[in-house]
């Protein structure tokens, strides 16, 4: 098939070929809808800012984030660094946390945890859910109903309780939390992908592959799943947001990533304990970070859904 630079033609071509030789065209089309939404573009900038802030920031803005003793004993302008107020000194622009760590640097450490855990568990949840849903939907019959009953079960368990059980048993760490969040949140995506698989499997390109002797596995993983990429991207974006929220919640109830590492929820929990004593500003930095990142992901997910729906309409 001849590749074309015209996005709308390319989109039409993908559908007739079934396979994604002109994926770039589809993405151009999605991007066109995406960039029309101002909130989505702002969100993308916010999200990229937080990525840079958390992963590149620590190299540009160096601060002690490991030694609590040094942090607790330092002074700024004759005042203790612990609970140092925000906007009082250029040395610690957002002030110090209750242990004396610089809050800007602390936010970077917390952001690294939040984004790593969020993105990885979002990926796990999306891919496990997609594979599960596609296999169930494609095979159908008994296997489908057994697999989907399992999904119903997963959807009816309050996840935070399981998370607490696991954190108490296996100790809180980025790995434990990532795996638990990823492996307990894929049920919704399995449902969505199954629905899409049901409609895809009756399409001609699937019969074509079968006639050519392609195995079920090949059809599912090489032909059906690539065609659900739109749904997967949207689900994935929301899954990352949900994971970041869940991690923040876990930190807030005191079961977050332990020192010297931290996460935004744990920072909040630290701050909240000192809020009644008048250190109310401690709450805001981490709170604002959580809200901005989650909101930007939700807005992007929304815009992506609109974008991919336009593509679906053109089918």
């Amino acid at each position: 098939m001849e590749t074309t630079n015209n996005p709308s033609e390319a989109a039409v071509d993908t559908t007739s070929a079934g396979e994604s030789t002109a994926v770039g065209g589809v993405y151009t089309l999605v991007w066109r809808t995406f960039k029309e939404s101002r909130p989505a573009i702002i969100s993308l900038c916010v999200f990229i800012f937080f990525l840079l802030f958390s992963f590149v920031g620590p190299y540009l803005y160096v601060s002690n984030q490991t030694n609590g003793f040094i942090a607790g004993s330092q002074t700024i302008n004759g005042m203790a660094a612990a609970n140092f107020p925000w906007f009082h000194s250029w040395q610690m622009i957002l002030g110090g946390d209750p242990s004396g760590f610089d809050i800007v640097g602390r936010l970077m450490v917390g952001g690294r945890t939040a984004l790593t855990v969020g993105i990885l568990s979002g990926l796990i949840s999306t891919f496990v859910g997609a594979a599960w849903g596609a296999i169930a939907g494609f095979r159908g019959k008994t296997l489908d109903s057994v697999m989907m009953r399992f999904v119903d079960i997963g959807l009816s368990v309050p996840g935070i309780f399981l998370l607490i059980v696991i954190v108490v048993l296996f100790k809180s760490s980025s790995t434990t939390v990532t795996l638990t969040l990823g492996l307990t949140s894929w049920f919704g995506s399995a449902r969505l992908i199954r629905g899409e698989t049901l409609s895809l499997k009756s399409r001609e390109f699937v019969s074509a592959v079968r006639v050519l002797g392609g195995s079920d596995r090949r059809i599912i993983f090489r032909h059906i799943l690539p065609n659900t990429v739109g749904t997967m991207v949207v689900i994935g974006t929301f899954a990352v947001a949900d994971s970041i929220l869940a991690l923040a919640g876990l930190g807030f109830i005191g079961l977050g990533i332990p020192l010297p590492n931290t996460d935004w929820g744990s920072m909040l929990q630290n701050a909240v304990q000192y809020a009644p004593d008048g250190y109310w500003w401690d709450i805001f930095p981490a709170a604002i970070c959580i809200i901005l990142v989650v909101m930007s992901l939700n807005y992007m997910g929304d815009a992506l859904r609109d974008g991919f729906e336009v593509r679906l309409q053109k089918r």
């Binding site: 935070i160 108490v168 048993l169 923040a248 919640g249 989650v294």
Partner: protein, 317 residues
């Protein structure tokens, strides 16, 4: 109808048994097994052996599981390590707080979200619709504990209007007798679901308003109010009822954080206290009971759906 209920109950009990199995396996997956969980990683082999012997942990795992299952299903959830009291006694006194909190918040969510979403759909693409969509979207992105924390900071610490914590001696029904102290926790939990629910209600209502029977109702000269109330609203609420069951796990999880935030002596606070003291029997017990509560809740939601939708009610008659 009856067979439907029976099937749901059967399905629910399978879910419960699987969750029990899952927590049971998790405890056995810890290096050293439940004994190390209970006694700590520095316990000496002799005390581990004695613990295993007294708790029947020397028999094969499968036998242990069925013994455990039998105990759990008869409400013998073990003994709390920190309180030295039966776990079920602790849970029973905490459960009512959670159930009342969740139920009140759930009802409030519907009372607020359904008119809001319906009104938005009626005035689609108006300024009100945009503002409401924007606000609910922001609400949807703010974690529940931040809403609660902001409320505490504003109303309790800065303005001194409302008490920041709930009285520890109050019974679960104090929500109705002295509602002031429960105002913040209940609204914290209510806000958790409004964003999502009002969006569903809005799109459901938009869909219904485009139906032929709405045009018929208008064509026969009914007033707009009647069209909306009798024909549109009732039909648009139906799919929302099914969402109750799906939103319950998140609500129960939100209740856990809300209870922690406002110091309500419910299941969530109990779980978290137990989590910080490594009191595994309590953590596992509350997990199982919370799951059971969620399952019962979603079955009730399905029954409500049948009550509301005559097509389902009369099925199989």
């Amino acid at each position: 109808m009856f067979s439907y209920l029976a099937r749901r109950l059967f399905q629910g009990s399978i879910v419960l048994i699987l969750v029990i199995l899952f927590t049971f396996l998790l405890e056995h997956m810890v290096p050293g097994g439940p004994a190390v969980v209970a006694l700590g990683s520095r316990a000496n082999p002799k005390s581990i052996y004695l613990y295993n012997k007294t708790h029947g942990l020397l028999s094969p795992v499968i036998v242990q599981f069925f013994n455990y299952l039998k105990q759990v299903l008869t409400f013998h959830l073990g003994t709390s390590i920190t309180y030295s009291a039966p776990v079920w006694t602790l849970i029973r006194s905490a459960l009512s707080h959670t159930v009342v909190l969740v139920t009140v918040a759930l009802v409030l969510q519907f009372v607020i979200a359904i008119p809001l979403g319906a009104f938005q759909a009626q005035r689609r693409n108006s300024r009100f619709d945009y503002i409401a969509t924007g606000t609910t979207f922001v609400l949807y992105s703010i974690p529940v504990f931040l809403i609660g924390e902001f409320m505490i900071t504003l109303f309790a610490i800065q303005l001194h209007w409302l008490p920041g914590l709930v009285s520890q001696t109050a019974s679960a029904w104090a929500v109705f007798t002295s509602p002031l102290q429960f105002l913040m926790p209940i609204f914290t939990l209510t806000f958790l679901g409004i964003g999502g629910l009002s969006r569903y209600q809005r799109s459901s209502m938009v869909e219904v308003l485009a139906q032929d029977y709405i045009r018929t109702a208008r064509a026969k000269g009914l007033s707009e109010r009647l069209v909306v109330r009798r024909h549109a609203l009732r039909n648009s609420v139906l799919p929302i009822i099914t969402i109750i069951g799906l939103s319950l796990p998140a609500l129960v999880g939100g209740a856990l954080i809300t209870e922690y935030l406002f110091d309500i002596p419910g299941m969530g606070s109990l779980t978290l206290q137990a989590a910080t003291t490594q009191d595994m029997p309590v953590v596992v017990g509350t997990t199982i009971v919370a799951t059971a509560f969620t399952i019962v809740g979603s079955i009730v939601a399905d029954l409500l759906y049948a009550v509301a939708d005559p097509r389902i009610r009369t099925q199989g008659r």
